[in-house]
Symmetry: D2
């Protein structure tokens, strides 16, 4: 297996011209595309439709090249979009391809993809979700050929939140939910999937877990997950990246922990964790978080009290600029919401670097 | 003369408690306060009233300590506020005091303050404004005791824009204005005052100037001015900072040019220009600008096409985070609008550093 | 007693020139001012400082005319501001004066003002708050000389919410709070004070009440309260308006229930309730609410899913325009947040009308 | 000819399920669809991608039912979307079908569609654009079978604005443009197409026109046009609605002039102009405009000075609520920008009403 990462810039959420050109000139074989992870220029909130527009546009393009339907593409390619390109962040997608290749001799970038069964409304944000995610993470790790959990550096999870429709249906059945507030279900949903990653990778012990710790006991966490929750899903999708002895190619991945949104040094730590330097970075995937209580290194910030601009937008703008100040590249995947993803105020940052063929 | 800079944090635009404590414990003598430059947590736009609220609140506090009225304080203390604490920027003020002191032996921080006569509406944004500002800058430089223009590192200018009332009055007189759009007058107003600084300091030649270059020929600029235009003024106020041989104290000032909003290295250059390192920085004053065409180092940003959040807010969030990633201190003065203040896309950054007594 | 209502327009939160002129020309006697209720042009959120700026500005003006301090004015005059002049809403204040006068012969506008003791953090949003508010409402009704609770038409209540500081202090004492989320405490705080009004006026029975119904059982409500919660208060302030047989003057008050934010006919019903028509209206005080589930008369609105603009801003813009379409006057008091103030989706509207001397 | 108007509600910009059901149950014959005019829930600004998402989604649906491609649908169906469902406005589309029918005996709703040739950059916003639009309007009127210009009640025009790419290309050729500011070109573009309508319908005389009046002399205007300018077009598309003696069906159209955004009575005038009452209204198409100087009936509004929310959003929220207060239906087409569309501050409102078969 060989995983390649192709960064395509976008002039709008439906601008697929860069990928179209890469397919036309042979840089990308559309049959090998397995995942697309990107940033779109919406507001990142409940009324951000740029993500759906981008998914439809990329699926239509790939379908045209494969001679199939966009629905068929959606079944074979995993799409993950984060809305919100605040500050200098640049709309783009990283298109991942998987092809056959001989092992490189040293560990190289590997990718495993897994999906869970559909979850019932009463399972969202509970230990039931933790367990099905953990099981899927183990499958993805095995598929990627990664033996040692320490070689897993970035697990992107998309899962369901509680929509008004799901809440109404569950109430009609008399089912108990973690909350009856759709937006309020996000922390539980993101938290449960993050704990599922933590459990599968051995970052937390099973007996430390329970329904009552989810989105509450923030001392339990993973440092390699990047989870999101959306109303369009009923199950969870897992994209697990790490380094495998059986992988070929010239890429490797590493990660570090951002102490806060101005921790510029974490970029170099993430690159070093992958065996490279900041000059070797191909793609970065990070989470941005407001400092606890809004206070950054003793200074009050106003991101938590701003009624005009959501704090996630302030946090993404900040972290995006700091990372770009190190790498010079503002086409970075930075998203928000870090429940059980690093300690409070901290956040994960993963870097794919070009380490060369061994 | 000795100039000291006291940074006071603010929990709201009317929070003057930190300065009140400094006065109470003798750190600041209210009779020595000559200028207050700060950031407030408004939106930075036409309907940002946090600046006026802060001015009134500080004036009332100082008036109480001096046993005078707030109007009297407004006559003796210059107030400059920039609204907008996007990202990690922290609401704060730097309170400048001026006291008697023996020369330090080496050049130290000096401050000169000057005001121009009131400007007629038809002078705003024209060579007439350039000339009166240039003359005031020369007076401020002389007052500061700065002999060499190269020792001037930061000139803060506040001047008038064309308000609807001024436009109506001028029209009734048949006077010609640079524009009849109030918001559209800002670039002319900020540009003319910046060129006034450039002219006074020898950064541009007088015969290169004319009404038709203002806000148009962006190859003419100063690298040390930070200018703003507001509807509350009829004249221009100039605060000129530099290093003077006659000054005492332990502070010095320097400046550098930001290549763009992610130019982290400019912070160290500004500190070095003052004779110190980033660890010695006391206060930073910078301008944030969108990259030309919105394109940063080859990557499209969305700050110029965002209808929800003004580009100045994106730019301030970015630069503020980058500077804080270097200094660890997010109580930084970062404002927007750089006409004739550095080349397009570039922006000035000034740093006051503690260099010690010679 | 005679209550007069003077509407003053404002060009900014600190524009007190209209009231200054009314005092100068004798229209308003500053010694008779007892309350100021108005709208300011902020965002209405946690970082809206236009309310505080307006309070300070009006207090300074009145203090100057009375030859006293602004602190002394704050003790004798009740200030209520709602931020957010969305759509056509016009920044303004209604200044209420109270003077001696013979009874008019028929019931006329009366005003009673009362304050409660300070509340402990653990009392906010609980039955303890309900009871102290109910007691204060009864005092205010008595002070206003209103015998029949049916003659009470508008009760403005300001009370405390749980600030981060209060929460931290309560936790240190081991006290239990209704919530530890500052913004999340608003519904409880507004709801408890509304139920206090409902209890005092006999709109709900005491045995229907309990801690567990507050902000939960929305079938319990008052139709005459307009409550708000802010971090600057420790106690509750009550302004109770109604018609009293002992009152003089030419004003009367009435109220109606808005079925939704486009219920234009409610304006006439409120005027009729006061004994007048829409042409007689002097001032309107209303609450704007999003329709349940965001669905207005079978049509989906997007106000509840908008991540850029808070739903309260959409609701205020809508109701303000609808009322102005009836009265022609957009200087209306419209605020948001209706827990236990009318049935879900409904909201109170009060009108002061000039009915003439009897 | 018979024109029918089918209102379809939308739960998101890509929700085409309501039209899908109408096609499935035979209410709408997809072969007869000629135009779609609707509101989407974006911000209405340059970064509002909900319009493009809706167009693609509807085109894909219709293509599936017709067994053709979405590109083919875009050639046969005119799509007009306005972004921004502020206040109570409800996302929806009105789908227009054209079928064969005998004349009704009295004048009934007719629709003509025309497109102009592509415009060069130097023609945008000039008399050249006025003339090509005027010619297309005459063609559309003829196609609709409307003999008397007084029977034309609503002309929707979409045309190009000056994009950065067009400006750069024109500069390279040395061509002169009305402005080199993309956003600044909108008033010229909307104004020129509106004057084209006015010229074709005899609302202005040709000798009163010239390049220098466009977007400047606001005493020249049409009362039936609703024009918009977008970067995705090179030519102008005209949808002309009126009543024709040759038309069948049970619909008719009329229009009125809104004196301002709270002119509720204009709704009934528009319906009466079509021969019906407000109870007969099927669809409304209106423009919302800020009052001149922001002052509405003597009251200052804050919509023109709001740096957080664009004035068009305030105006749409206001007018939408006022219209819904009359009709009870908030699925209304309300858009912004009225250069040469009614006198300053005024705006057009058109109503399609069901008048029955004659």
């Amino acid at each position: 297996m060989r995983i390649d990462a192709h960064k395509v810039l976008m002039n709008s959420p439906n601008d697929v011209s860069a990928l179209d050109r890469m397919i036309a000139d042979g840089t990308v074989d559309p049959r090998e595309i397995v995942a697309v992870i990107g940033k779109t220029e919406g507001n990142g909130g409940a009324n951000d439709f740029t993500r759906g527009f981008a998914t439809l546009s990329f699926a239509l393009l790939i379908a045209r090249h494969l001679g199939t339907s966009s629905d068929a593409v959606l079944k074979r390619v995993a799409f993950v979009w984060s809305g919100g390109t605040e500050g200098v962040l640049s709309p783009h997608a990283t298109v991942f391809t998987r092809s056959e290749a001989a092992p490189a001799g040293a560990k190289r970038l590997a990718l495993g993809i897994a999906v869970t069964r559909d979850l019932a409304a009463e399972e969202v944000g509970t230990m039931a979700e933790v367990h099905v995610v953990a099981e899927a993470v183990r499958h993805a790790q095995a598929e990627a050929g990664i033996v040692d959990a320490a070689d897993v550096h970035y697990v992107q999870v998309k899962g369901p939140l509680l929509t008004p429709a799901m809440i109404a249906e569950a109430r009609a059945r008399g089912a108990r939910l973690v909350t009856t507030d759709p937006n309020g279900s996000k922390p539980y949903a993101r938290g449960a999937t993050a704990l599922g990653v933590a459990l599968a990778l051995g970052e937390v012990e099973e007996d430390a877990l329970g329904d009552d710790v989810i989105a509450r006991d923030m001392d339990l966490y993973t440092t390699v997950a990047n989870t999101s929750a959306g109303g369009e899903l009923k199950n969870c999708e897992i994209l697990l990246f790490g380094n495998a002895p059986t992988a070929g190619g010239d890429l490797a991945i590493g990660h570090a922990v951002l102490a806060d949104v101005v921790d510029a040094a974490a970029v170099a730590r993430a690159a070093a964790s992958a065996g490279g330097t900041t000059a070797d970075i191909v793609s970065i995937f990070a989470k941005a978080e407001a400092p606890p209580g809004g206070v950054l290194r003793g200074r009050r910030t106003t991101m938590l009290s701003d009624a005009d601009i959501n704090y996630e937008r302030h946090a993404r703008a900040s972290l995006g600029a700091v990372i770009a100040s190190v790498t010079g590249d503002s086409a970075i995947f930075v998203s928000g919401g870090t429940e059980h993803q690093c300690a409070p105020g901290e956040a994960p940052i993963a870097a794919i670097v070009r380490v060369g063929t061994a």
